[in-house]
């Protein structure tokens, strides 16, 4: 049954509902795939924890309900029994949650995130927890305290970050669905460089309760899948108001599946697509720019009206992001002090005062990138600097929102390359934080404005995936699915199938070289 793992989640769900396949078989096929490609020296290493027992138990439960039929079977969620992987920044009962940090090594959450509660209620077996940059800080997953994840398209390259584990798991057919979190691009940029689909919902569209906070005003949980329609289903499942999250929107989830189905016709007639002048050209690789231009042509040919929009304040976005995000990080990560949970490291000499225990715990528990951001944020919030740094950055945020407001007067959706480059080689940027930060230049503005964004595969450049990003106004996530599904259909027609099926075959984890 090697075919099982290549099915999209929607296809898999249909087979489960039709009784052509059991959930246990589907889960086992993915567990076998994980066992085959994830471990070992040159394994993908998408997973930090594999949840074999529970996943199979949930699958068996779904199979039993389906077998018994009747109302209980009718009441099952359409995706019941379809396995899913969870970014290890989202807390889960019964599985460890580490945020890829030594600080939380061995920590078991006593509660479930709201999205996990919804996934349990819908009976999606959880395959395990996926790797990320420590506390979601990074664009390559190299900042994981448990080792990097490899890009299934080229095991010597990064899978993007911070959600490289979720993207790689989906790209390597280890899971049909995954959850990610996106603070400055951590769903979309890994999606782009692994040839998968990722969505950052409107801020407040999905509850953040139980996602370990990096930057509260920017974080958002979203779907990671291989098709736009799969993301729509998963987004509808995890979205909606949550009284436990004060910032969650108090309104129903938009009709996203319907929008994706509409888009799948490939017809873009009457849709105004705004090309963001500032998010192309210099700094964007030629191959990335070429695939982007082809996507525009495909959309134009399908009836879309292509317009150019200008967002002049985007040039300040990265700088402002690197003040607001670390400021919130410095406060959000203060709780990791060794007092109540997680790692506690005692000082090796000197008196055992609480300050010194907290200090040695944080010195040993956090990696360099996390420390860099905590220090930067602490500085930016300091008396005498607050107005110049945090205050100014908040003003930039307002300006970016105004840029988007103006752009959405002219266009229904905006479009840009998701990432300026294809996946780079492991280790090539770890010593150059600024070069690493530039990966997110096209994704950060959406977080700063709270608007939704999607990345869909846009083809290959030198054999590596390029991502195309659509952005929509706040609460208009449905427009992303319409446009994303349309582009997906148009490009697949030219490729003669899914891009992901062009990915090199991964062999067993013991193999030295990818054939």
């Amino acid at each position: 049954m090697t075919d099982i793992i290549h099915l999209s989640a929607t296809e898999l769900a249909a087979k489960l509902r039709a009784g052509e396949l059991t959930s246990v078989a589907a889960v086992q096929a993915h567990l076998d795939r994980i066992a085959a490609v994830d471990g070992g020296e040159r394994g993908v290493h998408a997973f930090l924890h594999v949840n074999t027992e529970e996943a199979l138990a949930v699958a068996a439960e779904v199979d039993a309900i389906r077998a018994a039929g009747g109302e209980a079977a009718e009441a099952l969620h359409p995706f019941a029994g379809v396995p899913i992987a969870i970014k290890d920044l989202i807390v889960t009962k019964g599985q460890p949650t580490t945020a890829a940090s030594k600080m939380l090594e061995g920590w078991m959450s006593p509660y479930d995130a709201t999205v996990i509660t919804k996934i349990r209620a819908a009976k999606l077996p959880m395959l395990g927890k996926t790797n990320l940059d420590e506390f979601a800080m990074g664009s390559s997953t190299e900042h994981s305290a448990y080792g990097p994840t490899r890009n299934p398209w080229d095991l010597d390259r990064i899978p993007g970050g911070s959600g490289g584990g979720s993207a790689a798991a989906v790209a390597a057919f280890e899971a049909p669905l995954a959850l990610g979190t996106d603070t400055g691009g951590s769903i979309r940029q890994p999606g782009a460089v692994t040839g998968t689909v990722g969505v950052k919902p409107t801020y407040g569209g999905v509850s953040r309760y139980g996602a370990i906070a990096m930057a509260s005003s920017l974080d958002q949980i979203g779907p990671v899948t291989r098709t736009v329609l799969d993301s729509a289903y998963l987004h509808e499942l995890i979205g909606g108001h949550d009284p436990a999250d004060s910032t969650s929107l108090n309104e129903p989830v938009p009709a996203l599946v319907a929008a994706a189905e509409q888009g799948a016709s490939g017809d873009m007639t009457g849709v105004r697509v705004g090309v963001i002048k500032e998010l192309q050209g210099e700094g964007y690789e030629a191959g990335v720019q070429a695939r982007f231009d082809e996507s525009l042509e495909a959309l134009r040919a399908a009836g879309a009206e292509i317009v150019e929009v200008s967002c002049p304040n985007f040039k300040y976005a990265l700088g402002a992001y690197y003040l607001i995000m670390p400021s919130e990080v410095s406060s959000n990560l203060a709780k990791f002090d060794g007092v109540r949970f997680g790692t506690r490291v005692l000082p090796t000499e000197g008196p055992l005062t609480i300050e010194r225990v907290m200090g040695s715990t944080r010195a040993a528990g956090f990696g360099d990138e996390v420390k860099r951001r905590i220090i930067l944020g602490t500085y930016a919030l300091s008396a005498g600097y607050y107005d110049a740094y945090y205050g100014s950055a908040q003003k930039v945020r307002t300006l970016i929102q105004r840029d988007f407001d103006a752009a959405f007067e002219l266009a229904d959706v905006l479009i840009s390359p998701t990432s300026p480059t294809v996946a780079f080689e492991l280790g090539s940027k770890t010593d150059d934080p600024l070069a690493m930060y530039l990966n997110d230049v096209a994704t950060i503005p959406a977080n700063m404005a709270g608007i939704p964004g999607i990345t869909v595969p846009g083809g290959l450049s030198e054999g590596l995936p390029v991502g195309i990003q659509f952005l929509a106004p706040v609460r208009e996530d449905a427009r992303l699915y319409r446009a994303g599904a349309a582009l997906e259909k148009l490009l697949e027609d030219t490729w003669g199938g899914r891009l992901i099926d062009q990915a090199p075959e991964l062999s067993a984890a013991t193999t030295e070289e990818v054939r």
Binding site: S109, G210, S217, T247, S331, R340, L381, Y390
Partner: protein, 504 residues
Amino acid sequence: MAAHIDDLVDFDVALEKYDPVLGFEVHVELSTKTKMFSSAPNVFGDTPNTNVTPVCLGLPGVLPVVNKTAVEYAILIGLALNCKIAERCGFARKNYFYPDTPKNFQTSQYDDPIAYDGWLDIELEDGEVFRVEIERAHMEEDAGKLTHMGGATGRIQGADYSLVDYNRSGVPLVEIVTRTIEGAGKRAPELAKAYVAAIREIVKNLGVSDAKMERGNVRCDANVSLMLKGADKFGTRTETKNVNSLRAVEHAVRFEIERHAAVLNSGAPIVQETRHWHEDTRTTTSGRPKSDADDYRYFPEPDLVPVVTTAEWVEELRSRLPEPPADRRKRLKADWGYSDAEFRDVVNAGVTEAIEETIAAGTTAAVARKWWMGEIARLAKNADVEILDLGVEPATIVELNSLISSKKINDKIARQVLEFVVAGEGTPTEIVAARSLAVVNDDSALGAAIDAAMEAMPDVVAKVKGGKLQAIGALMGPVMKATRGQADAGRVRELVLQKLGIEG
């Protein structure tokens, strides 16, 4: 560690040279069912670390949600302090590392308090009214409670280890901050006590706090500075933290005035710092240096959205405000006809409501006071509990009183009956029946006792016969003894006179 006793200047001498300037920050713990930002129960005194959720433990991934009742209570406090209520306000994070604060930041209001620009008239004992201006009242969350173990003093210095109880972590607080208070002069300590007493009374009257200072429901930080008489610039202040009784507030302010004067007289500067209050020695000692440059790196709490207060909501809350305690006291004192001293005793004993209810249940104001300030107060004192903790119901007083006026029992028996009521034996009527305590006014039974007494005391009988009617009292003792105290004293007197053929 014994507190270091600083040099002091006699209070009156200090006040000849300096004017004290005061300022107060009073923290009021709200009596909401749940905490400020979580659904954990807000209950005092439970087993440590049982009233907690992931939110009040600050576990990874948690988010706060504002308790609407706490906001209403904060608005009520603001309105009772004649404050303006912000139409829109928010929370901020005050960042500092301390193990009683699980997130290592406190969620508090910073530059946009929910209530601001108010005032409160404080009536001193002699009736002088002093207006205290309120700068702001803002919402925040309490920290957990640290217990330092192994040291001699219970303070962190010298402790072997510390235990932390997060039951209090996240309990809603309203912090009430005054503007600087000038012109109190020698009355500064008295004003300090009266101000905190007034806040305590207001929040209790509003029903928004249990207002028990001994439990930390109301905690006062007292700021004191001195300025030379006639100077136009304030002196450096000190802040004495967590002064937790009315008497201590008065003593702490007095002590700091005496200490500041001594320091200033010596030519040394006052160090701006927090001070710790020591009830045992009635002194303060130096805490940590505090400056306005303390850097808490405040920034707006990104996990919360602003609190919006509509005019309708505020007016609805305003309509719920009870009569202000000071107004109410004036009204009750006049209605009841108590003297100043009598009324003050009643207030200080905390039985104003009990007396009000007893009168409503059907006794006169005088009878109600006689019971609550007399026998009930005496029983409470003997049992070493608060008067109200005896659990005596106003209906019990009414019942006792009617048993007396219908001559079923006398005053002395009534007092015994009250004791049995407190002991849980039932209602007064039940107890009188069960213990056969009804007054003996059966003439034959009384007659025998009287005859015996008269026979035993011929000299008394002779005096009565000789016209000294008050001598009858001497016969009362033996008669009461023979009837176990249940004789109706009036009837005994009538019978004696009758037996001696004297017209009463």
